[in-house]
Structure formats: C-alpha cells, structure tokens
Amino acid sequence: MNWTPVFPLWLIVILLCLGLAAVVVQYGLVRRRLGSSRAVMISLLRLGVILLLILFALNPSAIRRKEYKVSSPIAVLLDSSQSMGLPAGTRKGSRLEEAKALLLHGEKSLLKSLAERYEVRLYAVGDSMKALDGRELSSLKASERQVDLGEALKSLGREKSLAILLSDGNLNWEENGSSTLPLIAVPVGDTGDYKDILIKDIKAPGLAFRGREVLIHVTIKSYGYTGLTIPVLLKEGNRLLTAKNVTINKTSDEITLPLSFIPEELGSHHLSVSIPPQFGESLASNNSANLSIKVVKDKIRILMVSGNPSMNYRFMRMAFKNDPSIDLLSFVILRTPSGILNVPIQEQSLIPFPVETIFSKELNSFDLVIFDNFSYELYFKPDYLKAVRDFVREGGSFSMIGGPNLFDSYAGTPIEDLLPIRLTGKRDYHRDSPLEVRLSHAGTTHPITRLSPEEKENARLWQEMPPLDGVNSLEPKNSGTVLLESNERTSRPILSVGSFGKGRVLVLATDYSWKWYMGMVAKGKGNWAYLRLMERMVRWLTRDPSLDPVQITMPERAGAVGQEIGVRIKLRENDRSSHPKGTISLSVFNPDGLKQMSQLKTTGHSDEYVGSFFPEKEGTYKIKVDTEFGLLEEALTIAKHGEGLDGAPHPERLKMIAASTGGKFLTRGDDLLKEMESYVGGNRNRFIEERTLPIWSRWYALTIILFLLAMEWYLRRRWGMI
C-alpha cells in the first residue's frame, strides 16, 4: 500500500480532530432526543463517513508487481553485395550460398540454435538494409552494388545487444564511433583460391579539347597473376585508340597506367578501357570499364577572307583578336589582279593567297569560314565553293559579310544553296542614304541579337545603333531566319541566319557594321555592344555551348544499373525573362533507343531543374532536354553489372571492423554460440513490471460513503428527527 496525501498531513490531522469532535457533539445532541443506543448508531454512521473522507485525503494506492523474463535481441546481418555471388573457393557454390548453408543447414542449424537462446532478427544488407524471414533467406540473391555497414549498424541502434555479420569483407566501413553495437564477424569465401584482374579506377577529364592530348589514368589491381604481362586497351566502339602492356609484379598489387589519345572530333565520346580475360579468372566483368569524354574546341578557329582592306575588316579583326578563345587566320586581298605594282618583289609585302592548300586540305581544321566582301571569281575555282558547301554540311560554319564585291557572283554556285537569303544575280549593293535597322520578331529573342538580357533594354539598344551607309539588297529565304532588317516600308534582311546540313550559316548584308562600334563610342556608351555582337555571332555559328539555351550537368561519378541517376538542367540566364514556365521537358532513351521513365523536378531556383531516372541496363543513355528555344542532347554511360568490382575476400577488413566495434572476428574453428555468451551472457534477461492502483478512484468507495449517509438519513427520518 502506498500513501500520497492530497493535503499536508497536519491539515488532515486537524480535519480528523474536527470530525471526531463534531461526532462527539452530535452524539450528545442525538442522545438527548433518541437515547444512547440510537445516538451511538447514528454517530457511528457519521464517524464512518468522516473516517472514509480522511482516508481518501491520505490517497491510498495499491502496488502490483509482476516479473517477466525475455531473450536478448541479436541481429544477424547477411552481406548481399555482388561479390557474395562469386565462388566461395574450391568448394562449389557462391559465398552467399556458403553463408546460407552456415545459417540453415546441418543437424541443428545455427539460426535455430540462436533462436532458442536469443531473439533473432535476420537482415540482408546491401544498398539498404532489409529484414528477412526464413523463406526470403533461401531466395536471397547477391545483387546489391555496395554495403554500407556503418549505416546498417547505426540503424539497428540500441535495440539489439549484438550483431553477427556473414560477409566476404567487401563492404564500406567508416569508423566514426557512432556504433555501440559489438559485431561478431563470420568470414565467408576463401582468399587463397581467388584469381582476378580488375580495372579498379579510371581518372579522366570530363571535358577535353579537340587536337590536344587527353590523359587517362587507369588503376589496375590483380590477384594471383604475378609475373604476367597483360595488354590494356583504350577503345571507342570497336576502334582501338591506344594500348599499353603492363606487367604484374606481385599479387594484390595496384598499378596506375597512363593512357593518352588525341581527340579529333567534337562532341561526346564513349570510350572503354579493357583487359582481355585471363585463364582462371574468377570474375571477368570487372576487366573493362566505360567512360564518357566531351570534346570541345580549344580555340575557335576562324578563316576570314576579305575582299579588300576596310574598316569592316579592321573592326571585326579587333573583335576577334580581343577574344582569347578565337584563333583568327585572315587573308586580305590587298590588290586586285588588274592592279599595277610599280616595285620589285623585294619591296612588296604581299603574299600569295594559298587557296589550294586552304580550300582543298586545311578547310576542316577551321570552325568558321568568313567571306568578307569577297568575290571569289578572280581567285577561286568553283570546286572550292563546293568544298565550302561540303564543309558546312558536315558541321562547319560559314558567314558572309556584305559589301560591293559580294553576292552578285555567287548566284548559281554551291554557296547559294547554303545561304539563308536569296541571291538575285545582280549588283545589289547600295550606298545611298543611311539606313536604319530594327530587330525582327525572331531577333528579339535570338542569342546573337540578344545583347542585353532584358528585352526592352535590348530593343532600345538596337534603336540607338547608328544607320548603315551601305547594304546589300537581299531577299529572305523560307529556310532562313531574319534577325535584323532595314527600317523601311519594304524591309530588307540585314542579318540572317540559317542551317545547312549539320552546319550554321550567317549573312550580314553590310560592310558598315563597324559604325555600330564607333557610333556607340560617340554616344559615350562604349564598344561592348559591337564586341558582344561579334562574339555571339561566332559562338552561335560554332555552336558554342555557352550560347545553348539549356545546359546539362552530368553527375560527377558514373552511375550504375539500378542506381538513381540525377542530372542538373540550367536554362540560360539570358532567356529567363522570356521563358514561360512549363515548356521544358526531359526524355531519357536507353541503349536500345527506347524511351524510359524519368522525372523532372524544379529546384529552388526558377531556371534550374533536376532530372532523374533509374537505368535498367548498362550502356549509353541519351538525355534530351527540349525547350522552346531548342533541344539539347547529352549522353551518359551507365556501368555494367560488376564493373570495377573488387571481388577478392577481405577477411582482414572484417577483423578490423569487428575490433573497432569491440566485437570479435571468428575463425573457422571458433564456436559462435560460445563466443556470444561472453557478449550477451547466454541467459534470458528479467524485468519487473510495477503497477500502482489508486483506491479512492474506485466506484465502490463513493458508494460506501453514499450508503452510510443514506442510512443515517433513513434512521433519522424513521426515528422522527427529520
């Protein structure tokens, strides 16, 4: 019995005394009217009520104790990573099967013996931890990519008193002191019989420059092939890029080998590094690894041919030379063949125009060819124009800058096919009254003419540009896009762009664009608008990624089958003001070209998105992002099953992990049950349940009081007191 008075004890004593006194006084009064026996009866009833109330003030409660006995909880962790699917050794079956046999088979299986003594929970540990029952254990497969043991032990927390791990030691472990659970490690797999050569790591730049050597560092690890010389091959598809031999000096040795090649083509290159499988190798899938490298231009190479020395040439040259990413090779026709030279050759600085070399051999080394007020007839065979057309069709860029020498001679030539404007075949150059230009509808958003991110500011900027003194009168083609046009009733295209084959083409129908430079300088607004226009013309023509409406950032580490792959998508800042929400879409195509499930989510930033997908097979995936400003496609290589897997058993690693948790590494001769005694005592734990039951809150206590009061009232009434 437990007492917890609701009032201070002294107050209860006073109340008791007052109650007793009241009873005595009541007895005296009642005896005078009813006699002593009846007075005693009524007073006893009243006394009973008072005593009960005093008793409740003392708040008595009953305590009930119950003793329980429980088993110690233990966790059995079974490594289900890929390496557990490798052969256990000379014995048949995989390491996982060896572990299962240890747990399930035998006269009295280990799992059964443990269950008799402890509360056993079985878990498969892989990319995540999963509780298993007996049936699930039989069908468990070694398919998980990696095991993070630290995380697994952390999630078990303090609920378990011990963990038993069955593993080959190929798992991630970072000792951070957070685990309080002792671990008993039971090794599976045999180190002595394991033979393997694997590509453990590849370090390669994600971005490479065309024409510059790319260095790839390949780390190779081997088990059991001491003294063997093996070839290491770097391939793109079936094409061998380079190969090197490497000799394995000792087992478990890691060798880092540099492989290099010079990329010649722009774009994404999907490469593979491989070593031919050797006799007796336990695992062949880790003999190759894939990587992707994006090849970009080191410098944008421009070939500019100018029909004569001019302000246009000088200002364009200044703009190109001002940009360190541009490599300009220019030829200016300083004299026409009809011109007379009055001096011997040693007094001339003129050089021959190497037309043959450039247009039949070197053309593909350029990114952009510019004809600046250049009439080809006196210098070119029509074959060279065909070469220019083929150059553009295959992805090169071409630009024509206007002037009196231009256009009239190109009608009916291969150049006419690729231009975004129509040629009349007449002399169409006018140098009459100055002509103002204005942005076309397409020009308001096009990256070339979008000199300012703000649409209104951009329009104002173009309105301020000084008029042009000389323009070529041209007609637009349906296939082209006019960005700037003359500000007159029947507008003429001034700046037009288009595509031909894989290449891009631009026509600027004036030799007076330099006035946009000096005109803005005269207004005190500097030269940035002209320089930016020239830079953007070049970058748009050469498909420079910095002008792409969308930029995709691939994950830093190559993904693998079954893993979530995330890509970051960023819309170009300049398009933000005109980019309505909801016009971006993501499509992912698997190596077979089939579209697969993907997700696109917004981030905290309005112009940033995150796309994700789960690859189901290895190979090259195409990622397409579509916006109203264009489409961007990137490729990503997903590693195949087992790539980079070091499958050798690592018992020493298990030993280290067990020691760091305060547990034990079991060798084959050790008795697991005996070892466990020292950690969890082998006996069942006891605990006592104690329950407090308050008496006054029971219904019958109130009933007794009411009964006593009712009896007193009844007797008083019967005996004529009420």
Binding site: S330, V343, S349, D469
Partner: protein, 244 residues
C-alpha cells in the same frame, strides 16, 4: 546659269557633303584654329589615284573638312591633320572627343609640313598629344612596325623634305591610332590641276617622292588592316623578301 552651276560645283564647300554616305576611303581633314590647317590643298587626287591603281581600296578624291566638334567625326575612317605653324590649343571638350576617338579605334595621320623640330606645328601637336593621351608617348615606330610592311616593304620614309627617315606614332596595345610625319608627305603628293607636281622633293628628287607615295599607301592600308602583317602566315614571306 550654266556657268553659275559649274562654278557652284567647282567651288562648293566640302562640308556640304557631310550628310552623304561615306565612300570606303576618304581623307577627313581637321580644320583647327590658328596656324595654317591646310598647307597642301591639292594633295588628295594623286594619292587616291595611286591608291586605287596599286591596291584594292576604293577611294574618294573628295576631301572632307571637319572639326573636332563634328558629330560625324567618329564615322571618319581616316582623320588627317597637317600644318606648318603653331596653332591654338584645343578646348578641353575637343581633347576629350579626340581622346575617345583615338582610344576606341579611330585613326589620325598628322604631319608637320614645315619640318622644324620643336617649333611651330610640331611643338603644338606634341603638346596636344601629351594632354590627350598622357600615358602614351609619341615615339619613333621601329622598323618591324606593321606600317612599314602593310603593302610595301619600306625601310625609309620619303616626302617633300627628309626631316626624319621614319614615322612616329602613339601605340595603344597593338594598334597605333596616331601616326606622325615631319617629311611633308602631302607636299610630295600635291599636283596642280594641270597634273604638274606642286613641290620639288629635296634632296632626293623623284625617288623621294615615290617613297612618299609608298609611305602614304602603307599608312592608309595600315589604317584598314592594323597589324595584319604581323600574323604568323606573313613572316616567312616577308623575311625571305627582306633577305633578297
């Protein structure tokens, strides 16, 4: 009436042409205050004829007279300034305009037609340049400068007189927006309306005149091509010819 029209065409003021569109090359001559701003009024025709004969540049024989406060100044490809005598200092506003013009891509060819070092036009011009571009010195252009090889390979500069066998200039980065001569090139170019040379070239005679024309053409070509001749592709050719 016919005579009147002919006279008006013959004696029309060049300034009236300013609103017309600009040909590819033309001289825009600065008319300044004080001194003698136009010492060789007949220099244009011969050099333009020579320019069109030798090069692919389309030139205009129409000279434009301008001032530093002209709103069209920035659209003149080739600003020309000549004189014999000391002239009135430029105003601060004029200096600012010229500084802006020269710093951002404009070009000025100036010549002292008297050839007196440290006196007259030479003194005034050098003072003004110091004030306009104080951080850039007017100095001799070395033999490997692009102006000596922009069209002809030149070793010495001719002119009506031979004060300096070289040109001077102010170079900003790789561009020389100011080129200065004291040899009176325009004096050597000047022809009267009957086609006779206005001035004799001393002391070298006609070879000195020929050299003046070459220098003039090189300066004009340089104003359109900048350091084009410094591009690597030209090196072996120029070196081979210099060694001939």
């Amino acid at each position: 009436m016919g005579l009147g029209l002919a006279a008006s065409l013959l004696f029309r003021r060049p300034e009236t042409l300013l609103s017309a569109p600009f040909p590819q090359f033309f001289f825009s001559q600065i008319k300044y205050r004080g001194g003698e701003w136009d010492p060789n009024p007949q220099f244009v025709e011969a050099i333009i004829e020579e320019l069109e004969l030798r090069t692919s540049i389309d030139g205009s024989k129409e000279r434009r007279i301008t001032t530093l406060s002209d709103p069209d100044l920035f659209f003149y490809p080739f600003l020309y300034m000549a004189g014999k005598y000391e002239f009135e200092p430029f105003t601060q506003q004029e200096r600012e305009i010229l500084k802006q013009f020269l710093t951002f891509g404009g070009f000025l060819f100036a010549e002292d037609t008297m050839g007196a070092k440290g006196f007259g036009f030479d003194q005034s011009f050098r003072n003004e340049m110091k004030k306009i571009l104080p951080n850039h010195e007017l100095k001799r252009l070395l033999p490997d400068h692009s102006v000596y090889r922009s069209f002809y390979l030149i070793e010495s500069i001719g002119g009506r007189q031979k004060v300096n066998p070289y040109l001077e200039g102010i170079t900003i980065d790789n561009w020389t927006p100011v080129i200065y001569s004291q040899n009176d090139l325009s004096g050597a170019w000047s022809k009267d309306r009957f086609g006779k040379w206005v001035n004799e070239c001393m002391p070298g005679g006609e070879p000195q005149r020929s050299s003046a024309f070459k220098a003039g053409i090189n300066i004009i070509v340089y104003s359109f091509t900048s350091d084009y001749k410094k591009d690597l592709i030209h090196h072996p050719f120029i070196k081979r010819r210099q060694n001939l």
